[in-house]
């Protein structure tokens, strides 16, 4: 699994490989990671170097207290990145808008019907991908013009799922 991880303005490309390895900005290190009890205390061994940190979630970021310093870390996985990128596309004020699959996946449900009026932010398709369920939302108000898929369908990346007019 790949992540884009931002700390203090620098973005690292982190990839969690098979158990016990991580690649960070192209460099592979051996890691051994453990949570201490149910607390937010973690122990990390990176190529046998030992680190202890307290970790807590905050709205959109992770707080990591390491050797006295508090780091604010933004961890973005592919799925979230794709969704974020999709959400930031500029959408025409009128005319047709096509909703495409941001990644390959399995359609879990389609909570809208042909001809239905939808508002910006309404769920159009629930797509299971990378073991997570992802909500594809309406980028603006409109009417459902076309539905190309149904629950249970497998879809490819960029396949057109729904069209709003």
């Amino acid at each position: 699994m790949r992540y884009e991880v931002t700390v203090d303005g620098h973005t690292y490309q982190v990839e969690i490989n098979e158990e016990g390895h991580i690649t960070i900005d192209g460099q592979t290190v051996e890691v051994d990671f453990a949570q201490i009890g149910n607390s937010g205390l973690y122990s990390l061994l990176v190529d046998n170097e030992s680190f202890e940190a307290l970790v807590e979630p905050r709205e959109n970021i992770w707080l990591v207290l390491l050797r006295g310093d508090l780091y604010e870390v933004d961890v973005v996985d592919e799925r979230v990145r794709l969704l974020r990128a999709r959400a930031s596309l500029t959408v025409p004020e009128s005319g047709e808008v096509t909703i495409r699959a941001p990644m390959p996946g399995l359609v879990v449900s389609v909570p809208v019907e042909m001809g239905q009026e939808v508002s910006k932010g309404d769920n159009l398709v629930i797509l299971e991908s990378m073991k997570m369920e992802n909500e594809l939302k309406a980028p603006r108000d409109g009417r459902i013009e076309r539905i190309n898929i149904k629950a249970g369908d497998s879809v490819e990346r960029d396949q057109i799922l729904v069209v709003i007019s």
Binding site: I22, V55, W62, G68
Partner: protein
């Protein structure tokens, strides 16, 4: 003059936070019962949990709770407390409070109301000690009108300081570098003093550049014995707030220590002082020293003195209030090794020391040889905006100053506080600073020569890895929840109830 010993069995602590816990511990070790008081936001506080008894005294603002003499005396009567320890701050230096305790027949663990009053007015204090032969910073010693002050200013010379007579904590204080700025500074200092203390009286002092703030701890009993316990170096300050203290001072040699100690005793004797007190001095580059003021109470930084003298100052305070003699004579006081105290505040050193409030979600205390933590909070406790930002004090002792510094670095790296920002990174930077390590600092050091950049090693890539692994794990767990409860969209209410029954029955 042998007085009848004052017996007491139950001590009310008219304070909160770490100092209340500190005093409760001393009382418990003496077999005394303790009474805590608390405001609404302090119901869960550590001092409430550690005391034998606890009483609610009102809303969070100090004026409605911790400063309410009537409520505190009422609790003393209801609980049967026969002594009161005021801690520091709040009512500690209020002669009317000390007097009210005595009037009620309750022992006040501190000096007499007269001594508190004499030292509380800075102008009177200056005059009093000066008459006793104590050197003071050149300045004005009587109340003067604005025009008289301006004339005096020319006599004293610039740069100078305008200070509030009722002052403390830098409020109502102004530095003036040129005669043309004097009038404006005077008016603004008077306004600030009036607002802060209800008293706009000010006086002038020559500004001593490159001065160090060094104070002498004294103890005086009711039998006429007065001793000093060496000095504390308190020049690491920011906006007149002390951040780190050490004893002994790297600037003070044995001869200077003795001279300052003797002068401190003169100052104490000038007001027939009794109980624990501190004489603050300004020491210039040539080791001339000048009386600044006397704090007629226990100081925040008393633990560094305790570490190097092996004396428990709070227990001595209680001993004195009971009418007993000091447990040591001056000859028996020996300074052993070196101690440093870091004040751990809820403030962000990377963001102009902005106060940080909230709930402490996790906390790991440093332990091991030579480490002492005086804390008023544990995980789950809240830091509110109503009181000072002091979370705890971390004090380290070493056989040498070097060992104490290295031990403090080790302890700081073990100390973990989550849920709000603390000034631990400030202390870590300070302890890496060559000038600080070399003992080369004065009261302007933190504000003028120190930056948070420092040479410390940051490990953002490690923080990145840790956060990614935690996020990855959470993602995996959450995926399992969706999976488990998934497809059919149902979680049985029996299952939920069942889990709970298993847990609580």
């Amino acid at each position: 003059m042998a007085e009848t010993p004052t017996l007491f069995r139950k001590v009310l602590i008219a304070n909160r936070g770490e100092i209340a816990v500190r005093i409760i511990r001393a009382c418990r070790e003496l077999g005394l019962r303790t009474v805590a008081v608390y405001s609404d936001v302090d119901r869960n506080a550590m001092h409430v949990r550690h005391a034998t008894e606890a009483y609610h005294i009102g809303p969070p603002p100090p004026r409605e709770s911790y400063l309410r003499i009537d409520k505190i005396l009422d609790v003393a009567k209801r609980s049967g407390a026969d002594a009161i320890h005021p801690g520091y701050g709040f009512l500690a230096e209020r002669p009317d409070f000390a007097q009210a305790c005595l009037d009620e027949g309750i022992a006040f663990i501190g000096p007499t109301p007269e001594a508190i009053a004499a030292m509380g007015d800075k102008v009177v204090a200056r005059r009093t000690v000066q008459e006793a032969g104590v050197p003071v910073v050149p300045g004005t010693d009587v109340m003067l009108r604005d025009d008289e002050l301006e004339a005096e200013a020319s006599r004293i010379g610039y740069p100078l300081l305008i200070k509030a007579a009722a002052g403390g904590g830098g409020k109502g204080m102004r530095r003036v570098d040129r005669p043309e700025d004097f009038e404006g500074a005077l008016h603004s200092a008077r306004r600030e003093a009036e607002a802060a203390f209800g008293d706009g009286s000010v006086y002038l002092e020559k500004l001593i550049e490159g001065g160090r703030h060094i104070e002498i701890q004294i103890l005086a009993d009711t039998h006429g014995n007065v001793i000093y316990l060496g000095e504390r170096e308190c020049s690491i300050q920011r906006r007149h707030q002390k951040l780190l203290e050490e004893s002994p001072s790297p600037f003070v040699n044995e001869a200077l220590r003795r001279r300052m100690g003797e002068v401190a005793l003169q100052a104490a004797r000038a007001v027939n002082y009794c109980n624990a007190g501190t004489i603050e001095f300004l020491v210039d580059r040539d080791r001339n020293f000048y009386f600044l003021e006397m704090n007629t109470r226990l100081q925040v930084e008393h633990p560094v003195t305790e570490f190097v003298t092996n004396l428990d100052i709070v227990k001595e305070q209680i001993r004195i209030a009971r009418g007993r003699k000091l447990s040591r004579t001056q000859d028996e006081i020996e300074i052993k090794g070196a101690a440093i105290e870091c004040r751990i505040n809820a403030e962000d050193p990377y963001n102009n020391f902005l106060p940080s409030t909230g709930t402490i979600t996790a906390m790991t205390l440093p332990t091991g040889p030579g480490v002492r933590v005086d804390t008023g909070v544990t995980a789950g406790d809240q830091i509110t905006p109503y009181y000072d930002p002091l979370i705890s004090k971390l004090i380290c002792w070493g056989d040498t100053r070097g060992e104490a510094l290295l031990r403090m670095r080790r302890a700081l790296s073990e100390y973990k506080i989550m849920g709000l920002k603390t000034n631990i990174p400030f202390h870590q930077n300070l302890l890496d600073s060559a000038r600080f390590i070399g003992g080369q600092y004065d009261t302007t050091f933190v504000e003028e020569r120190f930056s948070m950049g420092g040479g410390r090693e940051f490990r953002p890539e490690i923080a990145a890895i840790i956060a990614t692994l935690v996020a990855h794990e959470e993602r995996r767990k959450a995926a399992q929840i969706v999976r488990r409860d998934g497809r059919d969209g149902q979680v049985s209410k029996w299952k939920l109830a069942g889990r709970w029954e298993q847990m609580w029955r």
